[in-house]
Amino acid sequence: MAILEVLGPVMVGPSSSHTLGALRIARFAYKFSGGIPEKVKFTLHGSFAETHKGHGTDKALLAGILGMRADDERIKDAYKIADKLGVEYEFAQDDLGDVHPNTVLIETWKGENEYSIMGSSIGGGKIRIVRIKDVECDIAWEYNTLVLVMKDKPGAMAKILERITKNIANLYMRRVNVAENKAISIIESDENLPNEDLKRMKDCDYVYKLFYIPRD
């Protein structure tokens, strides 16, 4: 932990795990969806399900999916703002399985796209994105994060990596569908990836889909 993490951050209360962490998970989903979705469903698990209203977790989640930042005082008016923007929202409670007590599943609908992201708020405002669609992952969102759905072929990764001009901090890949030769890669980088890099990767034959989620 660095000194600045002890002295801050500037945020909206009341709880770093129930408000800040919740907001960051939803904000990740907002960026992943490429903006404010038309419809969103939050399924809360464990402690999130039990105490979300008294902690404002519901408002933090809704504010995050609307793209608000952690220190935005409009968070407490998230319901009103969502209504004004015509965003359809739903909160549900369910047992999401063997996951952290502060876990939420966020499903979004935007245009023809449907996404689902599961994240846990693990304390002190830190988060883990643990599932994207059906793929398990472990993203802390402390770096600029690139999620690639790619062809699982020899040499594919090398072809993709040669299109990145910035220093890579972490990289991991897992096969998700053997029959369709599909894999998911997650690339984390300290520096912001320039648009040219992203465009070159999108144009690559080995890349089916690309999601870039710059850190806050």
Partner: protein
């Protein structure tokens, strides 16, 4: 890194303690000195800004269990404490209530304990408006908090309230002492005295919400920070060095049953009145 080692380095190299802390941040994590200093200045400005905006304001919390405390304190002429304590207390209550009302706060070191450090920062600012001097002392407080987070914990769910309010008071005591003396050794004594005073404090929020008893604990703890700093500045030393007190606090935290670590199941959260209030809450 022990806090004692930082103090020793500061003495040996004849460099102010806040500079040593910034340099260590670079040595250990590669974060440039200027980056940390600027980042801390930004956080400090946010505390001063929010402190002024919410000072003694009427605030209602999310559940309505508490609130209006800062306003009551502001409209009361104190009989015993100094004006400095009064401002720090009103500000601490204002931050803690703002936190419980989804207002903007600075989680220094945590959201639930945000009032202790912020209250003292605001009182020091109102006194002299000397930003640079305040920033140096704020960085020393960060050094104290950093050592606690590495050797023990700052999370109520892990170590009880001593880890949150206790750490906030230790940081604030060191900040006050550094502000007035610039003496690293005295800072360590002040922080040790404050942390010892709050050792064993349990985290027992009614219903699990950051309201009762959290809001008022922020305001009482500023006085512990002030008293600890005054003692250290008078030359009173903590028999047990700060680093050992931190380790002891961590051990006490691990020994606490789960019911006393932010679960809302023990302590005052388990009293008949707390249970009645929860039943009547409409959420």
């Amino acid at each position: 890194m022990n806090f004692g080692d930082l103090v020793k380095m500061s003495k040996d190299e004849r460099k102010p303690l806040h500079e040593i802390i910034l340099e260590e941040e670079y040595e250990e994590l590669g974060v440039p000195v200027e980056f940390t200093r600027k980042g801390a200045a930004k956080i400090l400005k946010a505390i001063i800004r929010e402190g002024a905006r919410n000072f003694g304001k009427q605030q209602k919390t999310l559940t309505g269990m508490t609130g209006m405390n800062a306003w009551k304190m502001k409209n009361y002429k104190q009989k015993l404490i100094s004006d400095f304590n009064r401002i720090a207390m009103i500000s601490a209550l204002s931050f803690a209530e703002s936190n419980a009302a989804m207002g903007r706060i600075v989680a220094c070191p945590t959201a639930g304990a945000c009032g202790v450090m912020s209250g003292i920062v605001y009182a020091l600012w109102k006194k002299d408006e000397n930003f640079d001097k305040l920033l140096d002392s704020f960085i020393v407080a960060g050094g104290i908090g950093d050592v606690i987070s590495k050797k023990a914990t700052l999370a109520g769910a892990e170590g009880g309230c001593q880890a949150e309010i206790g750490s906030g008071a230790a940081m604030a005591a060191a900040m006050l002492t550094y502000y007035y003396t610039g003496d690293g050794e005295k800072c360590a004594h002040a922080a040790a005295i404050a942390l010892k005073s709050l050792m064993g404090l349990v985290c027992d929020p009614v219903g699990g919400f950051v309201e009762v008893p959290c809001v008022k604990r922020n305001a009482t703890a500023v006085n512990i920070a002030i008293a600890s700093a005054e003692m250290a500045m008078a030359g009173i030393e903590s028999v047990i060095p700060f680093d050992e007190v931190v380790e002891a606090m961590g051990k006490v935290g691990r020994a606490l049953p789960e019911s006393l670590r932010e679960t809302g199941k023990g302590g005052i959260a388990a009293t008949p009145t707390a249970k009645r209030i929860l039943k009547e809450l409409k959420l």
